[in-house]
């Protein structure tokens, strides 16, 4: 489509229901009360000149360009700060206004470089547009007066430049940072003529508190803040609306293109999840798509000791199919399996599980949700009847009390965190005034960040979630704070009474559990009272809840709390898992688990299975297949020999790395379909190059069940979209597939999956996005679930006995390691490590409390050895009191560290989701890499070799004498 330029209404929409009628330029117009005159004019199609106003933030009234005349009022008020009034008569263009505006523009331009032709914003500059709009023809003051034209550029940020010589001090960047992003990194330093935009304490952007979300760059009306890619390439000429491939927020972006070259990614205002905001990853970290390490040709080899050999697609597919057939003939049908990718589209994921169930003829399919949110699926399905979060993100505007458990949204779900921070800021500062409870072993950013602080931070010991949540339930029940009317109406009353009796036992009181949880009883009581009585209370949680031996129990405990207090089934409340990867919700919905078909129907469910069998023309095994960990166990024992892994790096992301390595090493055909030679690919026999989200069509489903289109912006550099590769493989295996477009795959999903019955690409094109269930009853989707009643009928209360993990600290391993993410990096880092994001985080570090560091003689920046019962690695220490004494923390973004060498085999009782968040460790000063790191480093270097084939020369007809 042509370059999408969204209409800027100048000021945000009013939410008032009452309307006001007025006349603008002789035209009658009716708008909601509280709308600005500027916006009212824009809604009827008249753009009032402006520079400091934009509809992403509140009116500011500083540029003096948007003046209007209002009959009966003196002077020329600013239209951005003047609300409409009944019967008002407005004139937007009069000789007086034209003169005033021209005068204002003259002043601006007298201190602005006149290098429009060579300026990066040429053609995309609001100052230039306004000079044209007001008819500026001369600057009477000349250009020789005092000015800012010689100020130096700040090019420290890898993605954008700050050129103060072009700044008109409209404060849009400062306000974007405050109001939209909520970081408050920018300010206007100085006064009057000396006023300049300043990052933190007049520091270079890179050294400041700036988080590079890009909101300021987007807001800047001139070339002051400009993407470096635009400076290098030029302005884009067409747009492709698509969905970000990073976290589970699911931001919609305009991929702004010049031909097949991506110029920049700009957040799309119509994106229902992000409303025009972005973070450093989605906005800027897309360079990996064209990174030199990307593999574009298929490769095969007989063993991992050999170098890779580049082959044609035909050879690679034929070889892979032959290998899988050989293995199944020799070792049995169950000896192969596969992993679907949460980074790929719904259609691609659906196709991989179809290939496995129909082509391989078994249910040995799993997905990365196994290691992140599988307990969410189990816990919420058990209690509510649905394996997904209950709300949309917009619901946060109605939240009075937010509870964040085991999640770090400012780092892992930054765009949602910005929305949340807006709601958490005090009302007198324009925020929503919501209260905040944080339950996390670390002092995460939300605990104290500008204009936001947690009312209660329960810094529990890792592994004690269930004890803390049950203690909160104890307070609610024993202090009579439960909403029994809600429970009687919506839930099973007998189960509630059993549960209430259980949680009321004195052993679950905050005082009794304090010694194990480390949470002061009075603080926990206060938090529980606030949750139960503070109005609309919403729980947002992450992997700090699920990745435990009691992950499923903790999810159930959260659901119990929400039901007991009536915080479910309306806006502003609910249980909201923050899903990690872009399409982890979708990959679960699509039947990626070994026990269930799409729409979470068990393979033993005859009705559901028969539907698939009839459409697919095969028998489907009615028994559950193997989970990833089962496949690896079986491989180590010699019974599992082949695996098709699409877009997952289990070697780096799964726990107990040496066990994963042993499993992969034991297989005869490991097929990795990915962008890069990942850690898993080091153990692969076939490498099928994958395509990026910019190179394919399909859909992603975000954490709020929102299905959004991914649109192809360029041809796949590897030759095929990922679903096409799966289709080729299926055909070679003898199970025919003949899809022409992912839309046809979605049609099949809709036929087979009642919750997706109404979903089609046509519908998504028309309405932008829908949240499942989307069917005849809910034709445009379901933003909030369980409104009229629980999906399963009556809400189910389940008793949650706290069972301590078997991963114990002791004299040899006295510290508890917990792991997580950082803003600039994403998961195993395969994408973000191949972008300039490494300037913020080029290695994983170990956070350790000053006390624990001191007794070990560890200084800040020292190399330390991190040792657990499973293994050891080395990394640098960072001394901080963000972690409590006894707790250490690291991230898992870099393969050189491989934090998962240290994590153990312990896992959630119900789903086998690994216990990443609790590992008993010891930390000691070190002077070099661990034995594992050295051995593994050598192995990977050898394993990544690609044979230099002699170039095949074009056949050439030799001329006589040549």
């Amino acid at each position: 489509m042509p370059l999408v330029r969204e209409i800027d209404y100048g000021t945000p929409a009013s939410k008032a229901e009452a309307t006001v009628a007025l006349t603008i330029d002789g035209q009658a117009v009716t708008v909601p009360a509280g709308t600005s005159v500027m916006r009212a004019a824009q809604e009827m199609g008249t753009t009032i000149p402006r520079l400091c106003a934009t509809d992403m933030m509140d009116a500011f009234g500083s540029c003096r360009l948007c003046l209007v005349e209002i009959e009966g009022r003196a002077g020329a008020p600013a239209s951005c700060t003047t609300p409409v009034a009944e019967g008002m008569v407005v004139h937007t263009q009069t000789p007086k206004l034209a003169k005033l505006r021209k005068g204002v523009m003259e002043l601006y331009i007298s201190d602005h470089p006149l290098d429009c032709l060579t300026c990066a914003a040429n053609g995309d500059c609001e100052l230039q547009d306004m000079a044209g709009a007001v008819g500026l023809r001369e600057v009477r003051y000349g250009y020789q007066g005092e000015n800012h034209l010689d100020e130096a550029k700040d090019e420290s940020n890898p993605y954008f430049t700050y050129d103060p010589s072009k700044c008109i001090v409209c404060s849009r960047c400062v306000r974007a940072c405050d109001e939209v992003q909520g970081t408050f990194a920018l300010t206007i330093a100085g006064r009057g003529f000396a006023s300049r935009v300043s990052a933190s304490q007049s520091e270079p952007f890179l050294d400041s508190e700036c988080v590079s979300c890009g909101a300021c760059v987007q807001a800047c009306p001139t070339a002051t803040l400009t993407e470096k890619s635009v400076i290098e390439i030029g302005t884009p000429e067409h747009s492709v609306i698509t969905t970000c491939a990073y976290c589970g927020v699911g931001c919609a972006f305009k991929a702004e293109m010049r031909g097949e070259e991506l110029v920049r990614m700009v957040p799309y205002k119509d994106g229902a999840a992000n409303h025009g905001h972005s973070c450093v990853k989605g906005r800027f970290a897309w360079g990996y798509a064209a990174h030199k390490e990307r593999i574009l040709n298929p490769m095969i080899r007989a063993s991992t000791a050999e170098p890779w050999r580049e082959v044609s697609w035909e050879e690679a597919i034929a070889h892979t199919a032959a290998e899988f057939k050989r293995i199944q003939a020799k070792y049995g049908r169950q000896a192969v399996g596969g992993v679907t990718s949460s980074r790929c589209t719904n259609e691609e994921t659906f196709l991989v599980q179809k290939l496995i169930r129909a082509g391989f003829g078994n249910n040995n399919v799993d997905t990365c949700a196994r290691v992140c949110h599988s307990p969410t699926g189990y816990g919420l399905k058990t209690t509510f009847g649905t394996s997904a979060g209950t709300q949309d993100f917009d619901t946060v505007e109605h939240v009075d009390v937010a509870v964040i458990i085991g999640a770090n949204p400012t780092d892992a779900h930054p765009v949602f965190a910005s929305r949340l921070k807006q709601q958490l800021r005090p009302r007198e500062e324009g925020g929503g005034g919501a209260r905040l409870i944080v339950i996390d072993p670390r002092r995460t950013e939300l605990v104290r960040t500008p204009h936001v602080h947690a009312d209660h931070h329960l810094a529990l010991r890792p592994g004690t979630n269930v004890a803390v949540l049950t203690a909160m339930a104890h307070v609610i029940v024993t202090e009579g704070l439960a909403d029994e009317a809600f429970v009687r109406e919506r839930c099973d009353w007998d189960e509630y009474r059993d549960w209430a009796a259980f949680v009321a036992e004195p052993r679950h009181s905050p005082e009794a559990t304090e010694p194990l949880t480390g949470v002061p009883a009075d603080e926990l009581r206060a938090a529980a009272r606030l949750y139960a009585t503070g109005g609309n209370a919403a729980i947002y949680y992450g992997l700090g809840v699920t990745e435990h031996s009691q992950g499923s129990t903790a999810v159930i405990a959260i659901a119990n709390l929400a039901m007991a207090t009536g915080n479910i089934g309306k806006p502003g409340v609910g249980v909201n898992p923050l899903r990690g990867q872009n399409n982890v919700q979708g990959s679960c919905d699509m039947g990626s688990f070994p026990h269930e078909l799409s729409g979470y129907r068990h393979v033993a469910d005859d009705t559901a299975r028969t539907m698939f069998e009839e459409l697919w023309g095969v028998d489907i095994d009615p028994e559950p297949g193997m989970r990833i960990n089962n496949m690896l166990d079986a491989a180590v024992e010699g019974a599992f020999k082949g695996m098709y892994i699409q877009g997952e790096d289990i070697m780096q992301s799964d726990p107990n790395t040496s066990h994963v390595a042993a499993g992969l090493e034991a297989m005869e055909c490991v097929v990795v379909q990915d962008l890069f030679l990942s850690e898993t690919a080091a153990y692969a026999h076939v490498f099928l190059p994958g395509s990026t989200f910019l190179e394919k069509n399909g859909t992603f489903t975000n954490a709020e069940r929102r299905i959004q289109l991914v649109r192809k912006a360029m041809a796949p550099k590897n030759g095929y979209e990922d679903w096409e590769v799966t289709q080729l493989l299926s055909n070679a295996l003898g199970y025919p597939m003949a899809y022409g477009h992912p839309a046809e795959i979605m049609d099949e999903i809709a036929r087979l999956t009642p919750t997706f019955a109404g979903v089609s690409f046509d519908l998504l094109e028309k309405v932008g996005s829908v949240q499942w269930p989307c069917n005849q009853v809910q034709p445009t989707g379901t933003p909030v679930m369980h409104m009229a009643g629980f999906v399963r009928g009556r809400g189910k209360f389940v008793v949650t006995e706290y069972i301590p993990t078997d991963e114990k600290t002791g004299p040899r391993f006295p510290l508890l390691l917990t792991t997580g993410r950082i803003l600039s990096q994403y998961n195993v880092g395969a994408q973000t490590r191949r972008t300039a994001n490494v300037v913020w985080h080029d290695e994983d570090v170990l956070e350790i409390h000053p006390h624990d560091a001191e007794v070990r003689g560890v200084r800040d920046g020292d190399w330390v050895k991190l040792q657990s019962r499973a293994g050891a690695t080395t990394l640098r220490a960072q001394i901080t009191d963000r972690v409590s004494p006894g707790v250490v923390y690291t991230t898992f973004h870099h393969p050189a560290t491989q934090a998962n060498v240290v994590t153990t085999d312990y896992s959630d009782w119900a789903t086998n989701c690994p216990e990443y968040k609790v590992t008993a460790v010891q930390v000691a000063v070190s002077n070099g890499p661990s034995e594992w790191q050295e051995r593994y480093g050598d192995f990977v270097t050898r394993s990544r070799r690609i044979a230099e084939e002699p170039k095949v020369l074009e056949p050439k007809i030799l001329e006589p004498g040549e």
Partner: protein, 103 residues
């Protein structure tokens, strides 16, 4: 097909039992239901074989669940069989409410 080492299976079965012993109803039936819903037949077979070989280390409820699974070879236990046992005990299955497309 392999089933993982007996130690691992015993550990997992006990872990599952640990959750269900606190629940109302008949814990062994609910444990057996969970195993039927989420474990592969060879894993269940291996657990039954382990029980038959003495069952050292299995908690009483986990052992009882394995005994329930043993009753219905050769498929070890068909989901229907456990489903019937479950219905008789008046407990819903957390793993697989048949016909349900709750999402």
């Amino acid at each position: 097909m392999s089933a993982g080492s007996p130690e691992k299976l015993v550990y997992m079965a006990n872990q599952i039992a640990g959750f269900f012993v606190g629940q109302p109803g008949e814990p062994p039936v609910r444990i057996a239901d969970h195993l039927t819903a989420f474990w592969t037949p060879p894993m269940r077979q291996a657990l039954v074989a382990y029980l038959d070989a003495g069952g050292d280390g299995l908690t009483p409820e986990a052992a009882e669940a394995a005994r329930l699974l043993r009753g219905v070879s050769p498929r070890v236990a068909s989901p229907k069989t456990v489903g019937r046992a479950l219905a008789a005990s008046g407990q819903p299955s957390p793993g697989r409410d048949p016909g349900d497309d709750a999402g």
